[in-house]
């Protein structure tokens, strides 16, 4: 055999081993390039083909990972991008993604990441450290004002990014930050070859709108953008260059297409899903869940109640100082009295809320970290108590008394206030109605004041012209750092009294101290202790009366393999590259 023939045979063998077909001319190039280091998933080995349709409650606005802020856009973008380090939605722990491995220096300030070799973008162009450096440059750019920019600041300074070589990138933090690797989750790596020019010309924020030619968009996610028809659908197609494979070495994803269809309401979503026109549904209320669950067998889908998630609902009071020159409203004295708030908490029938509003699919809360957040919830907090008797006793201690049916304060004024709630959020309105009834039981006259959503936020966070309000939070990361701005007294989302120049109370000062400290604690146990203490303080001083944490409810067409819905976002599609249709599924005609 001639050396040339041998070389050809070797080339052929390597060519075969590296997977999808490439042109003959590329065979030699492949000989020189290293075999791509793919991530092997652990799920069941599946079948290729089919598409997955899911409905969205609003239309997407952009395909730009840097500026996408609204939920539908992010839902779509997430399927087209890859990150260096990814948080596994099931285990809630960080794991390697585009970064094959990483090391954190002992002082916690230097993270060195080794990238996977041979990975390509969805348009076939190679991925290397230059793309990483470029991406972080974009995210940290002042003029672009990406929401991720602030997340990538540690100790008041942006993270310094340095290319060490083609496959290694070094990140330097101004100070140690606990869970630093979690920062990289969902920071999409951008293709330098497509966006460099736009960035240089200052046009990057406008790039990649929905009317962009698909060929001009590329990413490292399991799917790539195929088409968008206004008001009707957004279609993503399989990324043939995706860097994950299953246990048999087959390139993922299994599905051919992802289709996102805008519908205007939850009811419309339910109808589509029920009729077989959508393959998955999430973020539905308990009533719709029960209505769908009744027909599961007949209609060929499965509904799953994943138990409590990360969301929590709460009632809080306006404790802000009155505007300069105005007299303090009488209610301010009540709202600032911890005993008053504790009494309100005792009067509320959380079981009733869970049953009437969520049909039992919610758990009463004592503190702000719901049981769905397994790693961080303080399991030693006493469960919430429902006792109007104790509430009345406590109020009497604080100087209130009953005059017939009405509760009056020490000056004889009837205790009366309005509870602000978003008019579009039926669930919160229902909670408000239940609470109103509970408070009437102890003589407090509460009015439910539904407000248009933005008008309500303005009143709470801007003009501070409200008395009490009900909100819901959650859905972000499980890590305590995600809600730093809620618990720091200087935080803008410190709802009852935001942006304090100095902590107004001793316990708020204590929370400040603990939250700041835990940011730089590197050991999980230490952080947990500190955060447990924060939860205790919050539960005792009741700045927000925590109500319930709803269960996460999802549904999917029967026969979807590797379906492992999780409590974190994206509940159904977090492992979309592994999802596949079993033989003969789905049964409804396409």
């Amino acid at each position: 055999m001639t050396p040339r023939a041998l070389a050809l045979i070797v080339a052929w063998c390597l060519f075969d081993a590296t997977g999808p077909v490439v042109s003959a001319g590329g065979a030699f190039a492949r000989l020189q390039a290293p075999a791509p280091e793919l991530l092997t998933t652990t799920g069941e080995v599946g079948r290729f083909g089919g598409h997955f349709t899911i409905t969205q409650r609003a239309e997407p606005r952009t395909l730009n990972p840097v500026t996408a802020v609204d939920a539908p856009s992010r839902e779509i973008v997430r399927q087209t991008v890859g990150d260096l380090i990814h948080i596994n939605r099931e285990t809630q722990l960080a794991e390697a993604a585009l970064a094959k491995s990483w090391t954190l220096s002992p002082d916690g300030r230097r993270l060195v990441v080794t990238l996977r070799q041979g990975v390509r973008f969805s348009d076939g162009q190679p991925f290397d450290a230059d793309d990483v450096v470029f991406s972080f440059q974009v995210y940290q750019d002042e003029k672009i004002a990406s929401p991720q920019r602030e997340l990538l600041r540690v100790g008041g300074r942006p993270i310094a990014v340095r290319k060490v070589d083609d496959r290694t990138v070094q990140f330097d933090l101004a100070e140690a930050k606990a869970g630093a690797e979690r920062l990289f989750d969902s920071i999409a790596i951008l293709p330098r070859h497509l966006l460099e020019k736009a960035f240089a010309e200052g046009r990057l924020a406008e790039a990649w709108s929905l009317s962009t030619d698909p060929a001009a968009i590329a990413g490292l996610g399991p799917f790539r953008f195929k088409e968008y028809v206004s008001g009707q659908r957004t279609v993503l197609e399989r990324n043939p260059h995706y860097w994950k494979q299953d246990r048999q070495g087959q390139r993922l994803p299994y599905l051919d297409r992802l289709v996102f269809v805008p519908v205007t309401s939850e009811d419309a979503q339910v109808l589509r899903f029920r009729n077989g026109e959508a393959d998955g549904i999430l973020r539905i209320g308990a009533e719709n869940f029960d209505a769908l669950a009744r027909e599961q067998e007949a209609r060929g889908y499965v509904m799953r109640d994943l138990g409590p998630g990360l969301d929590y609902t709460f009632l809080f009071f306006n404790q802000n100082d009155p505007p300069a020159g105005a007299t303090a409203p009488r209610a301010l004295a009540w709202f600032r009295d911890t005993g008053f708030r504790q009494a309100v908490s005792l009067a509320i029938d959380r079981e009733g809320i869970a049953r009437l509003v969520y049909r039992g699919r919610a758990v009463p809360l004592a503190g702000h970290v719901p049981p769905g957040n397994r790693r961080w919830t303080n399991t030693k907090l006493p469960p919430p108590v429902h006792s109007p008797g104790r509430a009345e006793a406590l109020l009497k201690e604080r100087g209130f008394r009953r005059m017939g049916d009405t509760l009056v304060d020490a000056d004889g004024q009837a205790v009366e206030f309005s509870i602000l709630v978003s008019s579009t959020n039926t669930v919160l309105r229902q909670i408000a109605t239940v609470i109103q009834d509970d408070l009437a039981g102890i003589g407090i006259r509460a009015h439910v004041a539904p407000f248009e959503f933005r008008a309500m936020i303005e009143r709470v966070l801007n003009t501070k012209d409200y008395e009490a309000a009900i909100l819901a939070l959650g859905g972000g990361d499980a890590d305590p750092n995600a809600e730093l701005n809620v618990w720091l007294s200087s935080g803008p989302q410190h709802f009852w009294r935001p942006a304090q120049p100095q902590p107004a109370t001793a316990w708020e000062a204590e929370i400040d101290r603990l939250m700041r400290a835990q940011v730089s604690m590197l050991a999980y146990e230490e952080r947990k202790r500190a955060y447990d203490r924060v939860q205790e303080i919050v539960a005792t001083n009741v700045p927000m009366v925590f109500l319930v944490s709803p269960s996460v409810l999802v549904g999917a067409r029967a026969g979807l393999g590797n379906l492992r819905p999780a409590v974190l976002d994206h509940q159904l599609l977090w492992n979309v590259e592994e999802l596949f249709w079993r033989a003969g599924m789905p049964r409804t005609p396409r």
Binding site: D267, V270, L271, G285, E287, N288, D290, A291, D349, G352, R355, L356, R359, G360, S418, L420, S423, T424, R429, Q430, A432, T433, V434, Q436, D437, A440, H447, V448, A449, P450, F451, E452, A455, D465, Y466, E467
Partner: protein, 340 residues
């Protein structure tokens, strides 16, 4: 003739019922019976277990079926007699006279839900009766205000023509063109945080009146502009009758048909408009019941799919009342035609 009388009579009964809602309704419309959400209406029995007629009609208490959220069984061990003229939850008759007398009820603290309960376990019958007040009152006034205003403006515009016509019609167009939703947002911002029910009432009438006059005005004007040149009008003018006189005696009755039809169409729209106002926080707020919200609450998939059929009973009652309004306007129309 008799049709008008019967319809008015029936409507009067409805209004009296609305005013005496506290007495007719067995319970407070805000009372939440949390163990009984979505309870179906109870069956009233007359024959007891032995088959003989019981001295009073009675019902069986409902027992929630364990493990379910909205399913109940009759508890055969616990018959409850329905008594009349019982003492119950206090209320104010017509909003003024305090009383605790109710038309019917069952002993002690038990409950009988003749029309079932809603999602909070509130008695649907009580809510239907109490909700009639604001819907009948405000809805009627709002529709009357809108149509009256439209009638006057449309008549003037159609009769005089020229500049006043242009002005009035363009103003009507402006009113119809602006998406009032946006203006309601601004309006809400200008108002205080909590609106008393009386304020909500006035607001409904004012807002609907301010917006609702446009379409009746357009239609009335079209009719009046043809009447203007008719022989009898010309004759009346030439005999020296004043414009007002002509308008009132000759022109308006011609437009009456259109105006009355618009009125009968507007009343239900006004009742529903209350729901839109509530969205912006301008309507009646919980726990006060209103027909508009009771109807709007039905438009959820899980309600329609779950066969909570008793929640549609109020719809039947409400439709019946609107039929009465229609009947009255139709009969009035006939009357007016006969007269002219």
């Amino acid at each position: 003739m008799t049709r008008l009388r019967t319809s008015v009579g029936l409507l009067a009964i409805v209004y009296v019922a609305a005013a005496t809602a506290g007495f007719l309704a067995p319970y407070d419309p805000a009372e939440q019976n949390r163990r009984y959400p979505f309870a179906p209406p109870v069956k009233v029995h007359v024959l007891d277990a032995a088959g003989s007629i019981h001295r009073r009609p009675f019902v069986y208490e409902l027992r929630p079926r364990p493990g379910t959220f909205d399913e109940y069984d009759e508890d055969r061990e616990r018959p409850l007699e329905i008594r009349f003229f019982v003492r119950g939850t206090p209320y104010r008759l017509a909003g003024v006279v305090p009383s605790t007398l109710h038309l019917f009820g069952v002993e002690g603290s038990r409950r009988v839900f003749l029309m079932g309960t809603d999602e909070y376990g509130r008695d649907v019958l009580s809510r239907l009766l109490h909700g009639a007040g604001i819907s009948l009152g405000a809805g009627l006034l709002a529709a009357a205000a809108a149509v009256s205003l439209g009638l006057v403006i449309g008549s003037i515009a159609g009769y005089y023509g020229g500049a006043s016509d242009m002005l009035a019609m363009r103003a009507a167009e402006l009113v119809m063109a602006v998406p009032s939703l946006y203006l309601l947002l601004a309006l809400r911002a200008a108002l205080p945080l909590h609106l008393a029910p009386a304020d909500a009432f006035v607001l409904l009438v004012a807002v609907v009146g301010a917006v609702g006059w446009a379409r009746p005005a357009l239609l009335v004007r079209a009719v009046v502009s043809t009447v203007r040149t008719r022989d009898f009008v010309v004759a009346a003018r030439s005999s020296g009758a004043s414009d007002v006189h002509i308008l009132a005696r000759h022109v308006l009755p011609q437009a009456a048909g259109v105006a009355l039809t618009q009125f009968a169409l507007l009343v239900p729209q006004c009742v529903l408009a209350e729901v839109t106002l509530s969205f912006f926080g301008l309507g009646v707020s919980e726990p006060a019941p209103s027909w508009g919200t009771m109807l709007a609450d039905l438009q959820r998939f899980h309600i329609l799919a779950a066969a909570y059929w008793w929640l549609f009973l109020p719809a039947i009652a409400i439709v019946a009342v609107f039929l009465l309004y229609y009947s009255i306007t139709d009969a009035l129309h006939q009357r007016l035609m006969l007269r002219s």
